[in-house]
Symmetry: C2
Subunit: 478 residues, 2 copies
């Protein structure tokens, strides 16, 4: 038997319905929805009955009339629509079942919006729940699949304001049949099977009876399992939310930045959830996040490769930059770090001079002659600001070019007497963010790199006791 006081409790506590406020109920006319309609009516809920004629079968008209009559007999408002489900399926190249589901829910939510209903209510049963859980199990699922459907879904795929509620998730079909028989309800033949794919039908008619030969109580076990797992999932989602704050440093629809070290500290299960959440932010439409993609990211988090790059399915890339892991479709999508960047056109720097860095917001070079040399030598020796430099110009006219790196550039960093390195290697060694490299401004004398602002001057340009003339250059951000 259906425990009405329990159902009433679920409607208020779990579904969070307010009896006085309108609810839109989807009624096919089958036993489940007719039973739910009758119970809600008896419990005094304010109802609007909605029926979708899928336009697929002849009997559909009779079904529609039956639902209309069920509403009329109770003095309830009624709305119906005939849809071209077959056409929709064709047009979108999806199965008839998927099309029916999509068209139906769209209809229900459109109507709910129109009549300002607090929720759309549907009559999924405990049997539906178990079938759903088994489908997820067979197709491969984690906790979020195994926990089954929820009493209340908000947001849901159809609305961010109107909840989708399913109060009968622990009521078995047998009890619904008994309720209908006992209260003289006359459901139409349950065409909601339209909703059920062949796969679901096989699960219902073959697999569940088979499982019952292993354990006659398997249905109630699976139902309880789903309930327990729903609680676990909620708890772990709460933990994920709290940990997300610690692990995500930046986030938009285009990119997610994760703090590598904080991520590494988390237990594996939580790392998995955090990575899934990052992917879900960038790929909100993705229904199933690939297991292997997640595992690939996790092993990268444990041991990032030197190159700092990981191509993932679904067109995402994982990029390492210092202690940050960026997830994005492309490097281009990452936020502007406000580094100094130079356009491909060169600039020139005289002394004294003030040169705006073209192509980079707010950065400019300043140059000036040094008037008192001993002081400059002392300052240069203890210089802690990598964005200022003292340069020996004893031998030559102080005119410099400012340009981005070029293939084949070499550089002889301060302290490396007689040795030059590839500029690209130097960038790696000093851990310059990869995407800053291409347009990093270099200060050159003729073609020789004199200063890599922010990192190092060249060995030859340093002040020595032999220096007779020096200049000071600064790269400054407003």
């Amino acid at each position: 038997v259906i425990d009405l006081s329990r159902l009433s409790h679920i409607l208020q506590q779990d579904c969070q319905l307010v009896p006085a406020s309108l609810v839109l109920i989807g009624v096919s006319g089958g036993p489940d929805s007719l039973c739910l309609l009758d119970i809600l009516y008896r419990l005094g809920y304010s109802l609007m009955v909605a029926h979708l004629n899928h336009g697929l079968r002849k009997e559909a008209v009779a079904d529609e009339l039956a639902v209309r009559e069920a509403a009329r007999a109770r003095g309830l408002s009624y709305i119906s629509k005939t849809a071209d489900v077959a056409g929709y399926a064709d047009k979108n190249s999806i199965s008839l079942e998927e099309a029916a589901r999509e068209v139906r829910y769209r209809f229900l939510f459109t109507q709910a919006r129109r009549c300002q209903a607090q929720a759309v209510i549907v009559a999924h049963t405990a049997d539906d729940q178990i079938e759903t859980v088994l489908m997820h199990l067979l197709r491969g699922a984690g906790l979020s699949g195994l926990k089954g459907m929820k009493y209340r879904s908000l947001p849901n795929p159809w609305s961010k304001e109107i909840a989708l509620v399913r109060p009968m998730l622990d009521v078995f079909r047998d009890d619904i049949q008994a309720y209908c028989a006992g209260t003289g309800l006359h459901p139409v033949f349950d065409h909601s099977n339209l909703d059920t794919t062949l796969f679901r039908n096989r699960i219902r008619q073959e697999l569940i009876p088979t499982l019952e030969t292993y354990n006659p109580g398997v249905k109630s076990h699976l139902l309880r399992m789903a309930q327990t797992l729903a609680g676990d999932d909620q708890a772990i989602e709460m933990l994920t939310q709290a940990t997300w704050q610690k692990c995500c440093s930046e986030c938009s629809a285009m990119y997610v930045a994760l703090k590598k070290e904080n991520l590494q500290l988390q237990p594996l299960g939580l790392q998995r959830r955090l990575v899934r959440r990052a992917i879900a932010i960038l790929r909100p439409g993705l229904r199933d996040i690939d297991f292997d993609t997640v595992e690939k990211i996790l092993s990268y988090v444990q041991k990032p490769s030197r190159s700092g790059h990981l191509d993932l399915s679904s067109g995402l890339k994982l990029m390492q930059e210092g202690k940050t892991l960026w997830l994005a479709s492309n490097e281009r999508d990452l936020p502007n770090r406000e580094w100094p960047q130079v356009s491909n056109e060169w600039g020139h720097l005289c002394v004294p001079d003030y040169v705006d860095l073209p192509g980079s917001g707010g950065w400019h070079f300043l140059s000036e002659s040094v008037s008192y040399l001993p002081e400059a030598i002392a300052q240069a020796q203890t210089n802690a600001d990598p964005f200022q430099v003292w340069i020996d110009v004893s031998m030559e006219q102080p005119v410099f070019s400012i340009r981005p790196p070029r293939p084949g550039d070499r550089f002889q960093p301060l302290g490396m007497d007689g040795h030059s390195v590839k500029l690209s290697d130097f960038f790696i060694n000093v851990k310059m963010p990869k995407r800053a490299r291409q347009l990093w401004p270099l200060v050159c004398k003729q073609d020789e790199i004199v200063w890599v602002p922010g990192y190092r001057q060249s060995h030859m340009s340093r002040l020595t006791p032999q220096t007779t003339k020096a200049i000071l250059i600064k790269l400054i951000k407003d």
Copy 2:
């Protein structure tokens, strides 16, 4: 094919084995254990081979010789024992399969202890894992069952120091067969089926092939599900551990005290875990904690009944005391709260006097005459210490009795002129802890209650402007 470098990684990372330190391997002689033996030997692990002859079949002797030979051929130490599994099953009224399992693990761990092995290693496969998961699913399980077996179990039912490790949980039997064939190993027929009940055999031979007709990839899905759920379970256990600190105020093998309000604040899934943990502390032997018991406690936590008592299966009781929920077999088992308690024998109190409270550690009554009455009246009016009282003795000789409550006791609390209440109701109203009530000391004049220490004096005993003589009584804890 078996990926040896992956297995080697699992042995070190997940099983946490140190190659140089001894491992005891249980070898039945079947393909799984023989394959594992061969691989560990090739990877250079230091091994002791152990074989249990279950004494149930004729072929067992041949199996034993085969294992002995496998050890000898690799120059490994070997130990075996013949057990009377059938006798053990009889004696303990358990199934042959359970007996075999118990006798075998005991033997392995006894030997591991003897030879100071770092771990006992066994050859459970991915197929075993999937069967285990399905068994749990059919019998009703939460996350901890669905996650299956672990690579490393410590503590385990047989030891708190020696780990039980299972490195082959993601290697399928087919690959093991191929390994044996490819490396010329000659396993005996796999009698480890002794380990498998009829139920497990049906799952292996019938259910899994059936599930594969629904989805050919179901085995790998189930394996991944178990891995994912293991991570989730670990994360949620971490959260449970952290929350336990906030919710459990006291805990021993006899009782658990939970802070009701903190418990109520947690999401349902976490409440469930905390309650399960409390039960597991008091009933460590309990293999499955009953779903209904947990749900019963949870709904009690949401809405405790007035009586503050909940009888649970497994002989536990949930008792409410103020903001604390006690879980214990019996009220007797709860810790002594160090309340004042009096034995059933009475005591007498004169003035001045010093009386040790019999039956209660460290509590004593002190009485003295009041010398300056106006001051006493003023003090009595602003008295904030419920363990001291001023009593009017203008009319009578100050001699009091001290006794516990009796059935039928009535009391007229200060301020309730002309009205007396049942003492038992008074106790409830002032929220005296239930289990303190029976032996709470009362100060009486003849049979009339003059003072309930810690709570209230009687209306008649108060000081008034007409008082000519007064005494002060204190109940003090050292």
